[in-house]
């Protein structure tokens, strides 16, 4: 068989997979949804409204409270059949202010943000000599003598990648550095921002937080400021800094996941759940993180709600609370749905900005993998390839993975995402409507065909047993 024939045969085999799995009518509807989403603005007006009328909505803040009200009204306005909330309780960290400056051998104010759950410094701040370390490993290995009483500066630099993998490689020092610094008697921790911006924005971010584990005050400085500090450290003179943090941690606060449902016509108790998170960091307006996700999944579901035909299964849009401060909404959802997790046929969260989707990965039963392949055929015109047979479902669904939930990842191009992530520069003007529309098209096809699939995706026992058997 020559190559052309082989390709033609492969194409036929592929084409028949979708046709074997779904009715011609369901496939036609999927294509109509795809076209309608691409012709629209991807829900740009949703993220515009959220960022303009609400703005910053840090978990536990007044902004978040207003966002929960806004989201319920918005989902009703978009045509969902039912809208409700489910509670989530979490600790709250409040930023009142911070500063960082070099005091010697030069006087240089630095652009800095305290990291989440950083304790306050004493009033007037902490001034000390700076010790520069390469990365988390160097911090783990440095002797107490070298850092006791000092301000530790860790200079590790996040790499820009399409997948965003550079984030995971660099973020460890942000998550856990302050407890190591505390254990070694350091005075404070300053890190190069975990982000790729060349502009003078510090990237905020969470630290692992346990009540009984000591942490030093910790701040991220912008990449240009980290360059400056590295240049000063390369000189002959000792470098001294002064840092100040004014912040507060409140033990328990209750907010809400906001859920909208398009009720299925055939098997309404079976659910395809699309997620995004409603909360944001406090310093931007949370346009890319995660206003974009809110817009994408809402727009996808809205297009399905607008069809004359109801989907077979129900479709949920879940707007999670308090993702940024520790996936608290996700944990609450997993706890609340541990007993009916097998009803959640497929879950997928959009939480990676507005970058275009380039691949679909899934964590489903063996019987359901061909359905994912069939769905990918309808995503292919959007430039979406078949990815791996694994998925997390996104951060807020990850607490449900141990319950065996079936999950899909629509992998987005994250090349630019970490230029804005967790900065005050995460604002509406960064959101590209065309790119949002491609995302909405992908989620609409996924949700529709997921809801129409005659095959179960295997949530619950099947996948749990499969995982255990690995």
């Amino acid at each position: 068989m020559n190559l052309k024939l082989l390709a033609a045969a492969a194409l036929l085999a592929c084409a028949s997979l979708a046709a074997e799995t779904f009715s011609e009518s369901d496939l036609e509807t999927a294509r109509e949804l795809r076209a309608a989403a691409l012709a629209g603005d991807g829900g740009f007006e949703i993220v515009a409204d959220l960022t303009t009328l609400i703005g910053p909505r840090m978990a536990g803040s007044d902004g978040e409270k207003r966002a929960v009200e806004w989201a319920q009204k918005m989902l009703r306005d978009q045509g969902f059949d039912r809208v409700w909330t489910e509670p989530a309780t979490f600790p709250v960290w409040r930023r009142y202010g911070q500063s960082a400056k070099v005091v010697s051998p030069a006087s240089q104010p630095l652009t800095a943000l305290a990291l989440g759950f950083s304790p306050s410094t004493p009033e007037g701040g902490i001034e000390s000599e700076v010790v520069m370390l390469d990365d988390l490993e160097a911090l783990e290995n440095v002797s107490e003598d070298e850092v006791a009483g000092r301000i530790i500066f860790v200079r590790n630099r996040m790499e820009r990648t399409r997948s965003g993998a550079g984030y995971g490689q660099a973020v460890g020092v942000r998550s856990g550095g302050a407890r190591i610094a505390a254990a070694k008697g350091a005075a404070a921790l300053v890190i190069r921002s975990i982000g790729t911006s060349d502009n003078r924005f510090a990237h905020a971010g969470m630290q692992r937080h346990e009540k009984d584990v000591d942490m030093v005050p910790a701040l991220a400085i912008s990449n240009p400021d980290a360059d400056l500090l590295e240049r000063l450290m390369a000189g002959d003179e000792a470098v001294r800094m002064q840092v100040e943090v004014d912040a507060e941690t409140i033990d328990a606060h209750t907010s809400y996941n906001v859920i909208g449902e398009i009720t299925g016509a055939g098997r309404p108790e079976e659910i395809v759940a699309l997620g995004a998170h409603l909360d944001s960091w406090d310093v931007g307006t949370g346009a890319l993180d995660d206003g974009a996700g809110v817009a994408i999944v809402t727009e996808a579901a809205r297009l399905i709600a607008g069809l004359e035909q109801r989907p077979e299964r129900s479709i949920h849009v879940i707007l999670f609370a308090a993702e940024e401060t520790g996936l608290w909404g996700g944990h609450a959802w997993a706890r609340a749905h541990a007993d009916d997790i097998e009803n959640y046929q497929l879950v997928a969260e959009s939480d990676f900005g507005d970058g275009k989707v380039y691949a679909i990965g899934a964590r489903v039963s063996d019987e359901a993998w061909p359905v994912i392949q069939a769905i990918q055929q309808e995503l292919a015109p959007l430039g979406i390839e078949l990815g791996a047979r694994r998925a997390s479902g996104g951060p807020d669904f990850s607490p449900a993975l141990p319950l065996g939930v079936a999950a899909v990842d629509l992998h987005q191009d994250g090349t630019r995402y970490f230029d804005y992530h967790h900065t005050e520069n995460d604002t509406l003007d960064k959101v590209d409507a065309e790119s949002l529309a491609q995302n909405a098209a992908a989620y609409a096809v996924l949700a529709w065909l997921g809801a129409q699939s005659p095959v179960s995706f295997g949530s619950g026992k099947t996948i749990l047993q499969q995982e255990k058997g690995d």
Copy 2:
């Protein structure tokens, strides 16, 4: 004559112009300087030192004082024959803090900077309804009734251009808006930043300042925040803002222009003066504005100082004080040299960042214009075209124009310049060493051939009479 012959003839005519004007040896030296500058880093280490060891150096600040010490030592280290200072006295504006936020119908903190010489608000700030106006003309025409007691927001937007002409078109409302707002009884003025950054940085900048003219407190907000405010203003509800400024104006402070000389071997009393300004805004480290200029003109002169042969005329590098707050160093220099202005054969300031030079313009006597054309022939390999027969010499030499000083403008590509201009994002990482080197090459050729020219450029009476005769 066919076109090829015409072109060849033109080329010959051109080639002979340089050869007729300058000795073969001087032209060879110009080419060596050009090559040496291109092979170097354009003085990148100078701007690195200035931004790292001094940083912000607002006129009248401790940083500026340290910069004056730094500059004298640096010029001596670079091999100048003589280094001295000349005083300049000016009013000082000190920024202690500011804030701007929307309080209704949403709660949105905005990224803002008070404009230079803004008065303070009462403690606790000013809260009022916002009136949005299109531009300076609309502000001039609006009735007192519409704006009395209100916060005026002017939304005019600077256009991006290579020449930077968009700045001049947009800046009027920044320079003079607050006095018009005061005359109409407004409470405060908020403007869209005069700058092209898509990032969330407010662009600082000066206002015209006279002791007896009232101004309202005035702030610039970042472009993304101006977008947000415009979007809120397009809604149905009245928009209210709260602004606060804490600042102080001090009547008189003395600082210094720092001058380095390469003493001429033949006609040392005749001078080619290259300028840049040493002061910066308070919010960045003044890397592009004007650390780049300091580096470019110093590097150009340093290369000439490193020659075995001294130039015929003297070459000065003048690092001006307090350009940003009103060209105070430039005014002091013009006053100090009013009586010997004819000795300043040619003046040219570099104050437009690191963009490549693309044209040379000059304001010289009729007899000297062919010399400029000959110099342009030696700049052509750098991609520099012949521009107009007019020049300002740059901001700090402009006060000497009425004295009839001969001036050159090396026009730089300003496409990116106003992305960083007067923001906290004007930092070293934005400076491109290759582009600096092209600038240094151009200034080295200009200064060398300007110093070797047997023709006078006509400073003083000739140009003054010519101007008067226009």
